[in-house]
């Protein structure tokens, strides 16, 4: 049955996701000794972009125009699947974690061909790196999810998340910690964060995600930015789901705690970005191999019980 929490859960993601970017930027500014932009700045940016016209390159085709719409729809759909501190979601089902991974694949497919549609070598570079790194992040994500599935005897996000209790933490902290560590690396890589990618530098030869959206403007750019925020929200929600023992709490306690934890993830991301330099591109695969290794270790521990 549909209940209030199931309605509230996607609304939380849809409304709060851009604020994650604001929080990260604020943390980074504080670390740099600046006051920083307002936490709500991403919302202002989105509103400004939505009120603008667009410029299309004459090289582009309908793929370029369809790309922002399809990317945003795909990631929006995942918001309806991944639970936030609740036990059921509108579109969640047994096996939904496979669908979520592939919906993010759909988003990536169109983002990449949309970038190649411009015929710019910058966007080509970004696209090429995106597919390389995500091809390595994919096994890490799936193995970490398999470890969690084995640990909790469940193949859905809601089943996994609600099975995490303080008791599981005390008995199986190795599995959870290792899976979480792998997920953190996947989160940083998939969301184009330092040490994999630097979201602040436009038009550098080292760029991945930002450079793929270089030729988008107006509402299209707003959709892509908003989609990126939602993607960060989803990954943070998965990470929080496997760390925070929401399974033992009542719904009215677990939801606020989960949301707060998601913002803690954003703060941590900001701290990582402030303390680290971006890795050289040839070392990024090493980081992702480390994530795969952590995920496999996590699974080995999960198999023990």
């Amino acid at each position: 049955m549909i209940n209030f929490a199931m309605i509230l859960q996607p609304v939380l993601g849809i409304v709060l996701a851009p604020m994650l970017l604001g929080v990260i930027n604020r943390v980074k500014a504080n670390f740099a000794g600046r006051r920083g932009q307002p936490v709500l700045q991403p919302y202002y940016d989105l509103r400004r972009l939505l009120h603008k016209g667009v410029v299309y390159s004459s090289t582009t085709s309908w793929i370029f125009k369809a790309m922002p719409v399809i990317c945003l729809s795909a990631v929006l759909l995942t918001v309806f699947i991944v639970p936030i501190g609740c036990d059921k979601t509108l579109l969640g089902f047994n096996g939904d974690l496979i669908l979520v991974a592939y919906l993010l694949g759909l988003m990536r497919f169109f983002l990449v061909i949309g970038a190649l549609d411009t015929g710019s070598s910058f966007e080509g570079m970004g696209a090429s790196r995106e597919v390389q790194f995500s091809a390595l992040a994919e096994p890490a994500l799936f193995i970490a999810l398999a470890a969690m599935a084995r640990q909790t005897s469940s193949i859905s996000f809601s089943g996994i998340f609600s099975a995490i209790t303080p008791a599981v933490w005390t008995s199986n902290c190795a599995t959870l910690l290792l899976a979480a560590a792998a997920m953190i690396i996947v989160l940083l890589a998939e969301n184009a964060r330092i040490p994999v990618d630097d979201p602040n530098t436009h038009l550098e030869l080292t760029m991945i995600h930002e450079v793929m959206a270089l030729d988008n403007s107006g509402p299209d750019l707003a959709f892509i930015m908003y989609g990126a925020a939602l993607k960060l929200w989803i990954f943070a929600a998965i990470l929080v789901g496997i760390i925070v023992p929401c399974g033992a709490m009542s719904l009215w306690l677990s939801m606020p705690i989960a949301v707060a934890a998601i913002f803690v993830v954003a703060i941590l991301t900001g701290i990582v970005e402030s303390c680290m330099a971006r890795l050289r591109l040839i070392y990024v695969p090493h980081l992702l191999f480390a994530a795969i290794a952590l995920a496999i270790l996590s699974l080995v521990f999960a198999l023990r019980n």
């Binding site: 085709s61 369809a66 729809s73 579109l91 799936f142």
Partner: protein, 656 residues
């Protein structure tokens, strides 16, 4: 059954008649009409069998030792018959448009062999007698050889044909050995009376695996695929890659269903072969410059995915895990059908590109979406489907394999977990790399700016080619929506081919039968969301300026299309990451001046198995045979003497 046989005979007859039609255009159209008309009763009967689940058969005695004309259509055969009918019909229609440029040549011969190929494949899946099976198998292999060598004025095509015919006959030799041994144990080769495999069951399985695996293109038996597919006309490549290599998969499944039991290590072997084929196949695909060669390697990858499914299924049988049996085999079967759709589509699309631009080199293309928007439309559907992108059909087969693996990790012990985890990790890596490979193909060939004048002036493909490509493209979309309705049928096929399943299977079956509904609900929600957002954007932009400009060029005044990222540069990071496995080589001139006038880069990825396994072996055989040349006199009488001596020796050996 008689209707089906009449249909197949009709296909052969129209092929024969087309030999005598002089006008090239009418000839291919006549052959295509024959295929479509002949396959109509086949499809009707196949649908009937699939719905009712009851097999139909016909058995007529034959004088041939061990032979009988025994044919049957059960659900498994019916499923493959459907794929053959769809793929061959679409390719035949496509051929009408594609062959127009060859209209000065006699097109009766390729039309005849195309119809023979279609009929041969249909007979392969219907044959229930070893001898009949081998006859059908050879008709299929030889017909496809003559089709591969259609452009035989090119040296490379003759070479490709030579590799193909050697490879396919090595495969057939293994199958003959298989059937001879089976016949020795059972005294008959009718499939329903074969039940004894003796202690050599594993040997027999290996013989079948090598024989069928050569046709399917399992690494390292795949070497003929990347040679034959680019050489053949595109609708032939579409049929060969779409359905003919699946005859190898059919053979493996049929062997498993005939065998009374399976061994655990067979499953492991299939999984590892699947992983090797999958990962190396897609890596080689990424490294290719030729679009059809790339698609051929991608077929190797997809055969790998199917093998992983079969391996999981066999492990499931051997260790009594119902979930693995159902999901492994069902995933493999569904992926087989799906791949027959999108790979046919992609080969036809690649053919349309090669036809309009005169080149298959991706780095010489680009921007074709402007000249060939309809081809681009179907090609992007195929590319998305083969990456397993959700609303399309490719997702569902892979979903079953993942789901089965995940479910097996939960419910069964550690012993079960190791193969399934291996499968999950490999599938994830293959999926990620496939996305890289197909965004590259579509992005570099169809998007951006044209890199050459030929690409800039490309004209849309002939309407018959477009219409033909929409058949598999439409089915890719339709299967994506109708998957929940198809799955119970496929699960029923799995139950029929795996009689050895133990314990209570109903829970696994019922969970399989309902698993796709939520996925389809999500797909529909996705469509609703996308339409809503598109309408929202249109309303936003209604009164605003929508300007046209150039792609952002960093202020550089004279950008040319050669500045774009190429196919080679797009895949370079991944290829160089795996260069130790791929034997990737490149040549470049070191730049020394400050303002170099020219630079050079050349990369090349030879096939490791043909380079390091087959070439040395065949070289050695060549050398050895060279030494044996003294027995060859070229005089017929001497050869007759050889035969007589051989007979004498055999007789003496027998009488000893």
């Amino acid at each position: 059954m008689s209707a089906v046989l009449a249909g197949i005979i009709f296909v052969i007859l129209t092929g024969l008649i087309s030999l005598f039609i002089r006008d090239g255009k009418n000839c291919t159209r006549f052959g295509a009409a024959g295929i479509i008309a002949g396959f109509i009763p086949v499809v009707i009967v196949a649908v009937n069998v699939l719905c009712s689940g009851a097999a139909i058969s016909l058995r007529i005695p034959w004088q041939v030792p061990y032979g009988s004309f025994y044919v049957e259509i059960d659900s498994l055969s019916a499923l493959f018959l459907m794929a053959i009918a769809v793929s061959c019909s679409a390719a035949a229609i496509y051929g009408c448009g594609y062959m127009i440029s060859y209209k000065d040549r006699r097109l009766g011969v390729p039309t005849f062999f195309f119809n023979m190929l279609a009929a041969g494949m249909a007979m392969v899946v219907m044959a229930r007698n070893g001898v009949l099976f081998l006859v059908a198998w050879e008709i299929m292999s030889l017909a496809s050889y003559f089709l591969v060598t259609f452009d035989d004025e090119h040296e490379s095509v003759r070479q490709a044909g030579w590799i193909y015919i050697v490879a396919t006959h090595i495969g057939t030799a293994f199958l003959m050995a298989f059937f001879v041994m089976v016949g020795k144990y059972n005294g008959t080769l009718d499939f329903d009376r074969i039940g004894v495999f003796g202690r050599e069951a594993s040997v027999l399985f290996m013989l079948a695996l090598v024989g069928f695996g050569t046709k399917a293109g399992i690494m390292p038996l795949h070497v003929w695929l990347p040679e034959a597919h680019p050489a053949a006309p595109s609708h032939i490549s579409a049929v060969m890659s779409g359905v003919m290599i699946k005859m190898g998969i059919y053979g493996i499944i049929r062997t498993i269903s005939i065998m009374p039991g399976v061994e655990l290590w067979w499953g492991w072997l299939l999984i590892w072969l699947g992983i090797i084929s999958g990962i190396l196949g897609i890596l080689f695909a990424l490294a290719q410059h030729d679009i059809k060669r790339m698609l051929a390697y991608s077929s190797v990858e997809n055969i790998g995915i199917i093998l992983i499914g079969l391996g999981l299924g066999i492990i499931g049988i051997a260790s009594g895990s119902n979930v693995l049996v159902i999901f492994g085999f069902a995933g493999a079967l569904l992926h087989t059908i799906n791949h027959s759709l999108f790979k046919s589509l992609l080969f036809m699309g690649a053919g349309a590109v090669a036809h309009s631009t005169g080149t298959r080199k991706m780095d010489l293309l680009g921007g074709l979406i402007k000249g060939m928007p309809k081809t681009a439309m179907v090609f992007v559907i195929g590319a998305a489907a083969i990456c397993g992108i959700p609303p399309l059909n490719g997702f569902f087969g892979e979903f079953l394999l993942y789901y089965g693996s995940f479910a097996a990790i939960l419910s069964d012990g550690v012993r079960m977990a190791v193969p399934t985890i291996t499968a999950i990790a490999a599938l994830a890596l293959i999926g990620g790399l496939a996305l890289a490979a197909f965004t590259k193909v579509f992005g570099i060939v169809f998007l951006g700016q044209a890199r050459t004048a030929e690409a800039a002036n490309a004209k849309e493909a002939h309407w018959e080619m477009i219409a033909a490509m929409w058949i598999p493209a439409g089915l890719c979309l339709a299967v994506g929506i109708a998957a929940p309705l198809l799955l119970p049928t496929i699960v029923r096929i799995v139950l029929q081919i795996t009689p050895a399943v133990s314990g209570d299977i109903s829970t696994a079956v019922s969970s399989a039968n309902t698993i796709f509904w939520p996925v389809v609900i999500s797909s529909l929600s996705f469509v609703v969301l996308a339409v809503t957002i598109a309408i929202f954007r249109r309303r936003l932009l209604r009164d605003r300026t929508v300007a046209q400009s150039v792609t952002w060029d960093c202020g550089y005044a004279a950008p040319t299309s050669r500045i774009q990222y190429t196919a080679s540069s797009f895949s370079q990071p991944i290829v160089s990451m795996f260069r130790d496995i791929l034997a990737w080589r490149f040549k470049t001139k070191r730049i020394t001046e400050l303002f170099p006038l020219q630079a050079q880069f050349e990369s090349h990825t030879p096939d490791i198995s043909s380079e390091y396994i087959y070439r040395p072996v065949f070289k050695w055989i060549d050398k050895f045979m060279g030494k044996m040349r003294w027995v060859q006199y070229g005089i017929v009488q001497v050869y007759v003497l050889y035969i007589a001596i051989t007979l004498l020796i055999l007789l003496m050996w027998k009488l000893k």
